[in-house]
Symmetry: C2
Amino acid sequence: MSILIRNGYVVYGESLEVVRADVLIEGNTIVKVERGMKEPADTVIDATGKIVSPGFINLHTHSPMGLLRGLADDLPLMDWLEKHVWPMEAKLTREHIKAGAYLGALEMIKTGTTAFLDMYFHMDAVAEAVLESGLRGYLSYGMVDLGDPEKTEKEVKESLREMKAMERMGSDRVQFVFGPHAPYTCSIALLKEVRRLADEHGKLITIHVAETMAELGKIQARYGKSPVLLLDDIGFLGSDVIAAHGVWLDSRDVQTLARSGVTVVHNPASNMKLASGVMPLQKLLNAGVNVGLGTDGSASNNNLDMLEEMKLAALLHKAHNLDPTVADAKTVFRMATLNGAKALRLKAGVVKPGYLADVVVIDFNRPHLRPINDVISHLVYSANGNDVETTIVDGKILMLDREVLTLDEERILDGAEGVVSKLRGGSDGHAGGR
Amino acid sequence: MSILIRNGYVVYGESLEVVRADVLIEGNTIVKVERGMKEPADTVIDATGKIVSPGFINLHTHSPMGLLRGLADDLPLMDWLEKHVWPMEAKLTREHIKAGAYLGALEMIKTGTTAFLDMYFHMDAVAEAVLESGLRGYLSYGMVDLGDPEKTEKEVKESLREMKAMERMGSDRVQFVFGPHAPYTCSIALLKEVRRLADEHGKLITIHVAETMAELGKIQARYGKSPVLLLDDIGFLGSDVIAAHGVWLDSRDVQTLARSGVTVVHNPASNMKLASGVMPLQKLLNAGVNVGLGTDGSASNNNLDMLEEMKLAALLHKAHNLDPTVADAKTVFRMATLNGAKALRLKAGVVKPGYLADVVVIDFNRPHLRPINDVISHLVYSANGNDVETTIVDGKILMLDREVLTLDEERILDGAEGVVSKLRGGSDGHAGGR
């Protein structure tokens, strides 16, 4: 199978230089980027006036949480969690979560995400949705033991069960990742066991770190040090660790993350919406830390739109630092593409021969994307997920001209609505306006 | 002419209660909102699974600046203005600005804006584009005299010329507004003359106030008081004044604005992107100031998407105050609709019988807007301008199922591209990647 994308503006290589060229895909790989290619191809896509970009990599989300989108907003964090999110999550069955995973996968395909790193539960159900969708899913079961040794064992067992279920699927696109939830919800014993298992099985680890001031206080009171230093002291950190949030970091934390090669994931919408705080992005980048971008779950965002997330990242740090030069468009674009690929050890996130064909086509024939003065600027500051027209993952077309080819859109929307309607006790689930 | 919008979720009245109902429009007015209406109508729009919302009111923009979109970003303010924006603007002719105005009008219709308050030059050309587009334009010529009495006279003359040109058009949809640029670019004599003329002609006034710290310093050095107190002392303020930005305001400024009935326009994207600062939104709202929402020009945003702007407003103040309860969804939604209408003295911004038929239909049959747990939350936190499907202004359909009926989209996109290509000196105007 081959695909030729003709006559687009290609966001090329690590430098993000924009060149007018054709892109030839053979199998799951980009094989050629050149002007006026004559090669025959099974599928030809006309990208005149359109952008050919690396697909976006959502490096931290909880994809089934689309079910909870808009269920509760504008609330203090603990109210939001204890009165709304947790009671709803307690009711979620495997089937509910699968319906949520389909909704998330559909939304990601429609907004140009090609790979994502997820944390939730019943992840073997999520894996089934991912496999069918055509996306790349890096899927972690969120382990929480709260210091209870019985729970520790149970969480490890569930992780290994899900790992094996995913391995049985036999697809490169579905990868298991260890997901201890956070230093304040996991015991040292669990964290150490995860480190050992990740080494043994050669898997990545993802974990929430230093998201809120409250977390910082808890860890400081319990262990007398910061979350990052705690993780460092127990030998947990390494270049296979992807730490979400990283909001409350001091200079020593930043140096420790840099030294140990940890990737940190920025989640600007969620950090703003929940008023968690502002990540020290400049300090992390200056220290040489690999920083990716994530949307977090749809309950705290409230969507999975990576194009919107790039704009939020770029704007937040300018406002916070009163400096319009920080978080420039190219830096933020790299966070959403090649930095994410690096963290996932994936040869993707870049349009260049030899890289995986995880590519999107974005339609610039729209008033808010004209005139085409600067492609990267328009992607970061002017575009949104609805502008993505075609999504290709692993050399396979998942969406063409906004039509998703791998999933049944109507069935998925109805399915998600049905779950919520049932959980809310048979009301029609609509209306809103609390 | 009558329009019946059937079976949608209607965002009803000032309370923003969401009700399932039909909406009947006769002439330019909403006449009935009821379930299961049997009335015949010239046009019937099926809004099943869709939202019927008041159209958005962009209370501060420079609509022709779409031409400069992405031309320069991530730069210090004065670099941006002096090296990029001003040199480009110096080359703009009446025809260029008209091409930019068409682009802006097209983008606004496509993203659900039904009325806007504009400031730029050659506004009689902008008025022609607005008249043709079907939008409501409140158009001000941006007056700058820099203390030169000859310039004062010239600027007043140009304003009155443009006012008369607009009055000759004889359309309620095209309204002239006086637009002295800012306290630091206008002399006291000019500001006083504007106050007198606005009273004489019964016109509104719009002005930039307290946008940057630098402005604050300048005014303080020149007059020994804040911009707001300066304007108050010369008798400039009143309920017909719409002040854009209002970032650097102290408590006395806020009280003065409240007492004089001034509307303040929040421009979160621009204030963040240019690192101007963060408006004291809570203080303004607590003092009872009417606060509207604007996108500012596309060179500092970089789009005119009011749905995106609502999200930015809601997120910015949560992050800035470390309080997730501020700038809640309904408050922000009102800023973008009825508060704007109030400032413009327009019986609009609300879906309710007796109000002007400035209404949009937004398609919620999309993964990022499902399940429909809360309509207002989804509009503020999950939607973007591309989700708007139908735009109605003054009882006339400007866009139906994403097709703009009043303007030639392709001609406008080519026109805007052509202007920039010419101004950049014959390059193809593309590529980008500075």
